[in-house]
Symmetry: C2
Subunit: 227 residues, 2 copies
């Protein structure tokens, strides 16, 4: 029954992303020491939460001395395996696929899109630094670059089919931009990113806000995930 449910992105991991973003900024500003309340203030969580999260990942600070910015950043880089290079493939070179293939932040963070794929031979000619292949060459590339993670930006209709093939060829994690709930074996991680939903939730909350208009009830409306 729960065959394709995945519990992913534990809250504390999401917050680690926040802390890291702050730390990078603080490092640039030349701050050498941070305290749990510094990060707390910057990210809008409590300082106890910061310390609890750290303890979950085994991060230790110095009593009174706080945390060393560089050390802390390094620990976080390790959590996300940033020391290693990660070879990623991208399937679907539509509007979104093209944008993702050019997304410079991926490279900055050691995530290299080694190849992109599309079913349409015309799109395979699109000029880009990254080669665009036909899907028939998936196996070859996945094997050669030992790819474990794929970005899926294909149309809804072909998402499941492509996923099945990816899983067959050994892909273990997928960031899925198609608005479909993919069915995959237990051991494959799916992270769904649905741009419409992201926009619609904002519309939803803006409307709630307008209805409630500055009342205290707002606090209640916003329980759940923190950003």
């Amino acid at each position: 029954m729960k065959q394709f449910t995945k519990y992913i992105i534990k809250n504390s991991l999401k917050r680690i992303f926040l802390y890291r973003a702050c730390l990078s900024r603080l490092k640039l500003m030349g701050v050498e020491k941070v305290f749990s309340y510094t990060l707390a203030n910057e990210t809008g969580v409590t300082s106890e939460q910061v310390r609890k999260d750290f303890s979950e990942f085994g991060i230790k600070g110095n009593k009174k001395g706080g945390y060393n910015t560089n050390e802390l950043l390094e620990v976080m880089e390790n959590i996300f395996h940033r020391n290693k290079e990660h070879n990623i493939i991208l399937i679907g070179m539509g509007n979104l696929g093209i944008a993702l293939s050019k997304h410079s932040q991926f490279i900055q963070r050691n995530m290299n899109i080694v190849a992109t794929f599309d079913i349409d031979p015309f799109k395979q000619k699109v000029r880009s630094d990254i080669p665009v292949y036909s899907l028939s060459r998936l196996k070859e590339i996945i094997d050669r670059f030992k790819v474990k993670v794929a970005i899926l930006a294909v149309p809804e209709i072909s998402a499941q089919e492509v996923t099945d093939e990816l899983v067959r060829l050994g892909i273990k994690g997928i960031v899925n931009f198609a608005p479909v709930l993919l069915k995959v074996p237990q051991d494959v991680i799916i992270n769904n990113v649905n741009l419409c939903n992201e926009l619609e939730s904002v519309i939803y909350y803006v409307h709630q806000q307008i209805k409630a208009d500055g009342s205290k009830n707002l606090e209640l409306l916003y329980k759940g995930m923190k950003y």
Copy 2:
């Protein structure tokens, strides 16, 4: 202290998105009646959860008879104010901005990007169905189309500056693609979408999986948000 923390996207709202996606599919397949366990099976949650979520939004079904697919869909459309047209603006016509401006799903769901903006006059010439304006015309467009929600796809460096301007001009909700924690007044909703983080979390879990390799501990690793 918590000035720019926002609690958004309550879990049940996120799940409502899942249910709706299923319902749309079921409707296309001609299914007229659904039961809580139908949706539960399809989305990977429990049937009690489905009913609890529904009760939160005041959705009532028929004892024994389940829910009518069309009625249920309509209720959900109303939750997300889909009956109304929503005028959105998009700021930043880089790779991602261009892809978003062409994203057909937005239009399918009554979310119209009425105008796009960029600081670079060259990009303002880019061919598109949607006009690309200079930022100096923000006020005019926001007022004319009564825009309340904006998509922010500008570089990190200018994100806060543009946000301040948007807020000043009456924008109440922002989908932010820049990897920055924006500072906004209490009554403005921010939804951060960080593509690198989405990819990195998959890499994280794939690595955990490889380490743990099929053990029962995996269940523990995945607690938190459900997808």
